[in-house]
Each structure stands twice: as C-alpha cells, then as structure tokens.
C-alpha cells in the first residue's frame, strides 16, 4: 500500500465531502485519474485557486473571490430590496431561480433554542446598518419555514428600523399533490389563501 499512499490520502480526504463515503470517494478518484488531462489537472488548479482566494463578502456574507462579492458590487442590483437568507446555500438557491434582482444578506444561521444560538452569533447588527447605509426600502425575509427559521424572522422584524418587511409565502409547492402534503403545509397554505 506504500506506493499508493498519496492516492489513499486523497481518497480519505474525498470521503469527508458531503454525499461521499469511502466507496464513492474511491470511484471518484479513480475517475479523476483516468481523466487526468481533461478533468483532474483543471480541477486541481481550480481548487488551488479557490482555496487561495475564496472569502466571505464583507458586505453581505456571500462567498466570493473578492472582499466584495459580484452581487454587492453590481450597481444594477441596488434596487432598494434586500433579501435575508440563512445560509450561502440559500442565497445560491435564490440566484438559481433568477427572479430576485436585489441584494442579499446572509445571517450565517438561525436563532436556536436548543443550541443556544442567540442574536449575537448572527449578522443582525450588520443588517440593521445596511438598511440605513444602502437606503433599503423593503426587506424580504427568505428564511426556512421551520420553527427556528420563523423565530429568527420574527426577531429580525422586531429589530429593523422603519422599513417594509415581507416574507416568502408558505404553502403548496409547484407540482405538489395535496394528498401527499403534511397537515402543517396544508394549514399554512389555507391560512395564506388568496382570491382567485
């Protein structure tokens, strides 16, 4: 095994990635080695570059390769709307949908009764500062429809200065069939019904 020590180390590291275990990591590494020129080398270069440059945006908390991310530095996105999300993954999900043209603010978590995560652990003071500094007219609370997510949403709404605060709707997902929905979702959907 001594001759494959480096490969074993790579497999071990890959196996720590989300969605991968030792078996799938071995398959991935084997695939990379077979595609050395067209995949492995460019991937290694890209990883090295990102490892050296990736950082949190000082303004919104998004991940980018500059101190200020592309969204925050784009003047066209200064629409006066600010979308508050829990995590960078949520920001990226919103961007994938491509419907929101304003800017974001990443909290970095939610208030949690169980884990004793309080307001001081989240980026709420920075959010309040941004509302004034960037002349924000509407804050959209795009937090998860969970107990922790909505507890955080209510807390933030209490902390904000005089600004319109909205939140994402909760209810039947696109393609969802009522028969398969949990009663909580049906209750939320019924409460948020609209004229047709």
């Amino acid at each position: 095994m001594g001759k494959t020590k480096d490969i074993d180390a790579l497999i071990e590291l890959m196996a720590k990635l989300p969605g991968l275990g030792p078996r799938s990591a071995r398959r991935a590494v084997l695939h990379l080695i077979k595609k050395r020129g067209i995949l492995f080398a460019p991937l290694a270069d890209a990883m090295q570059t990102v490892a050296a440059t990736a950082r949190e945006c000082l303004n919104c908390g998004n991940i980018g390769t500059e101190d200020i991310c592309d969204i925050c530095s784009d003047d066209k996105r200064a629409t006066g709307e600010l979308c508050v999300v829990e995590d960078v993954a949520d920001l990226w999900a919103m961007e994938r949908a491509g419907v929101f043209k304003g800017r974001y603010h990443v909290l970095g978590g939610t208030l949690s009764a169980l884990d004793s995560i309080g307001p001081d652990e989240l980026r709420i003071p920075q959010l309040v500062d941004r509302i004034v500094a960037e002349n924000i007219r509407e804050v959209i609370l795009a937090l998860n429809a969970t107990i922790d997510g909505q507890t955080t949403a209510h807390y933030i709404a209490d902390q904000l200065p005089d600004v319109a605060v909205t939140s994402l709707a909760q209810g039947v997902p696109i393609g969802g069939e009522l028969d398969y929905l949990d009663d909580g979702t049906i209750t939320a959907a019924l409460k948020a019904r609209k004229s047709f």
Binding site: G19, L114, I147, Y155, A157, D182, D183, G184, T187
Partner: protein, 244 residues
C-alpha cells in the same frame, strides 16, 4: 431488541450526519427519550420533524443503554399554527427548551406530560395560552421538587392577603407577614393564586417569580447550567405585547 410505541410531543431535533437526525420526544410512559431518525432530512420526513409536533413514535434499541432509533408517524403538526405568531412561537421554543433543559432522560413524568400536551394544543389561542404557560411552569417546578406553596402565609398562617413569595422557601407571605423584608421577597400576583383577570402584564410578572426559582433552584440543582435563552426571549415578547 427493546421496543416500545407511544404518542409523544417532539421537543428537539438535531442534525446527525447528512441525512439523519437525533430527536428528543416527550412521552407519558417513557419521559424524554432521544433516538435517531434515519432519512430525517428527506422531503417527506423533514416537515414532520418540527418541534412541538405530536407524533406516533416507535423506539427500538438492541440494548437499554443504546441511543436507539425512532420511526415516526405524524399525528398533528403545531408548527403551522404558530409560525405567524411571534408570541406563540417564542412560547413553543421556551416550552421545548425548558423540557430538554430540566428533565432527565427516560424518566416518566405523566402529569407534566399531560400538562405539556394540553399547553401545546392551546398554542395560537392567545387569550388562553399565556395563562396556561404560567400554570405549566408552576407544574414543571412542582414535578421536579421545587413547587411553590401558595396555600398560606409562611409567617402567620393566614390564607388571605397573600402578596409575596419567599425566595428561600417558595412559600407565600402576606404584606403584614413580610414586614421590613418586603423588598427582599418576590411578587405574588393574584393570577398565581387563580384570581383576577389574568392580563398578560400580570402573567409576565408571575413569570418573573417562577423564573427566579427556575434560575436559582432548578438550574442550581442541575449543576448551575444556564437557563435556555428561549425563555427570556419569550418573556421579552410577552412584556412588549402587554405594554402595547
């Protein structure tokens, strides 16, 4: 293989690995019991596993001291009822956090379980449940051996005019019995004796008194663990709403 099946209220959910979760369920016969739920992050199971939900759970373990695993079926979700209501949401968080904070694992507390289930069913009915929450906190203290004795004055034995609670004994004291010690005693609002209109400001004042015993008696007995901040957040919202 050890196995039991019971209805219970979900008190806590923690992610465990990529797809599983460790949940804590409060049941009548088995108390607060933790267990692993596999596939907890799936679209089907995740909405069920919201704190406060009433579940039909089956707990299995090979040995008694194993953490065990749960299979869960929803009975009723309470999350959707409270998500739009800051006070109810804060109350739900406070109940779940206090149960996890105060109760030892796998120790049945049937009266407290019944009181908890009744309280959770009232969440969202804002004219009823703050008072039910106060009664629940008093029941929690009682169940864990720190119950307040509000039947008669600790000094004179009088049963009328009770206005204070002794922070040392947890017993009621009258204005006359308090004498010069009044400023060292805790308030005993009429709502704690089952009198009056039970306005939220009075309930908030009563919760300051129960909070003293949670912090100074219960938490001390639990090794000076800090009281979950969810309770303070709930009290803050209750104060603000009662002033508005």
């Amino acid at each position: 293989m050890i196995e039991w099946r019971e209805d219970g209220a979900l008190m806590a959910v923690r992610k465990h690995g990529e797809t599983a979760a460790i949940i804590e369920v409060f049941t009548k016969a088995h108390g607060l019991t933790a267990g692993v739920v596999r596939g907890a992050s799936s679209r089907k199971v995740a909405p069920i596993l919201q704190p406060g939900a009433q579940l039909d759970v089956t707990w299995k373990a090979r040995l008694e001291d194993h953490i065990g695993s749960y299979t869960v079926e929803p009975i009723r979700s309470r999350a959707a009822q409270v998500m739009g209501d800051a006070l109810a949401l804060a109350g739900l968080n406070a109940v779940c956090a206090l149960i996890c904070f105060a109760l030892p694992e796998r120790e049945p507390h049937p009266p407290l379980y019944q009181s908890t289930e009744n309280l959770l069913d009232l969440l969202g009915q804002n004219d009823l449940w703050p008072l039910a929450y106060l009664r629940w906190e008093m029941a929690l203290l009682q169940e864990l051996g720190f119950g307040l004795d509000l039947s008669a004055c600790a000094v004179s034995g009088a049963t009328e005019g009770l206005t204070y609670v002794s922070p040392k004994s947890g017993r009621a004291v009258t204005e006359k019995g308090a004498g010069d010690w009044a400023d060292k005693l805790l308030h005993l609002p009429p709502v704690m004796l089952g009198h009056g209109d039970a306005h939220n400001d009075e309930i908030a004042q009563a919760l300051q008194t129960t909070g003293y015993f949670i912090e100074h008696a219960l938490a001390t007995a639990l090794g000076n663990r800090p009281v979950p901040p969810a309770r303070a957040r709930f009290l803050d919202i209750l104060h603000r709403q009662s002033r508005a």
